[in-house]
Symmetry: C2
């Protein structure tokens, strides 16, 4: 069994490990958890003893299959709770993260399985992120950042990269929601901004926004 702190490390390392095929660096973990590198060194030694990751001094870490499974399970719980909060308890998608961060550490297999069933076994959370199955498998769908689309390309909004509440509230204000069709109308080379059509409205999107919105291209 793992403490909440250990679980948070596993989750962070799992997320960081997806992008890089090399080991995850101490500093990267520290940054992601808003902690100090020395604290990370202490913790990864502990987790290496528990066989959930492999650690060679100065070489970063990578999760064992046991570690991956454990991490995926925490992410599964986090995302299922997020769906529950939005679907059953009238939370907005920008309000769920902090609460799910607490709920993901509750230890009760029956609890999370029943929540899963109550929700009808959802596959994606409110931000479009896939929910790992009980074995820890996580399906990666084909998606692209809005910023990579060319003029006249179109697709469906399927997720957000940054799920900070300011960004999500911005999307709400612009009436941009997951599942909506979006078409690139204009692109400005100068600042990377673009004009898109969504919901029959043309709106101007800054480069920063376009770098945070995932699109599933339709061909």
């Amino acid at each position: 069994m793992f403490t909440s702190s250990e679980e948070n490390y596993l989750k962070a390392i799992f997320h960081l490990g997806i992008t890089s095929n090399k080991g995850v660096s101490t500093n990267a973990i520290a940054k992601s958890l808003h902690t100090k590198a020395s604290s990370v060194t202490d913790m990864i030694k502990k987790l290496a003893d528990k066989k959930v990751l492999v650690y060679k001094k100065y070489q970063g870490v990578s999760l064992t299959s046991e570690g991956k499974k454990t991490a995926a399970n925490i992410i599964r719980k986090h995302r299922l709770w997020e769906v529950f909060l939005v679907e059953k308890l009238n939370f907005n998608w920008d309000e769920v993260h902090d609460v799910a961060e607490q709920l993901e550490h509750i230890k009760s297999p029956k609890l999370i399985n029943e929540i899963d069933a109550l929700l009808g076994f959802p596959k994606y959370d409110p931000h479009g992120d896939p929910i790992p199955d009980k074995e820890g498998n996580l399906d990666q769908i084909e998606k692209s950042l809005l910023s990579t689309l060319a003029i006249n390309e179109f697709g469906i909004c399927v997720g957000v990269h940054d799920s900070s509440s300011t960004f999500l509230q911005f999307l709400d204000k612009q009436k941009i929601a997951l599942g909506q069709e979006i078409i690139v109308v204009e692109k400005e080379d100068f600042d990377g901004s673009m004009v898109v059509e969504i919901n029959k409205n043309k709106i101007s999107i800054s480069n920063k926004i376009a770098n945070n919105l995932y699109i599933k291209k339709s061909q």
Copy 2:
């Protein structure tokens, strides 16, 4: 804000304080939390500093109104989660305690208010215990232990004293549930056992059981 550990102490002291009008003793708290008296002394000093209880060396403690409110709020959360688990997630009443013990420490006013609303603002938890309102008021209903009823007295099962899973499972096996009418048919002076009629069945009840089942007398 309070740590989970502090919250557990407040809850324990609240429960112990209901029965005694004097201060709650260090040993009683230690026993209730399965901890040592010296640990309790440390913690109550800390809680006294936080103004949630008053403490005079060797004299035990009692909660301030602030402390009572905080404790009642934790108990409110615990009992609402228990209702949720039974009503929405197919938990049996003997399975809810440990999970609720974790869930009660989740910090999110919106979460618990929405759970309350989802459940239709219940007044009692699955064991018949009253749920405090948002201000921390807890209504005490008139109830008696089954063991205190005389022959031919009858009433409604409204709660359990001991809510250990073995006792609750025993009640399930005997088809005894809250809300059912119960009549005392025979009483045995020798061992305090009794025969009662419940659900058209006559069953024999040991003294230990009769001391753990609460009845609301009908007159």
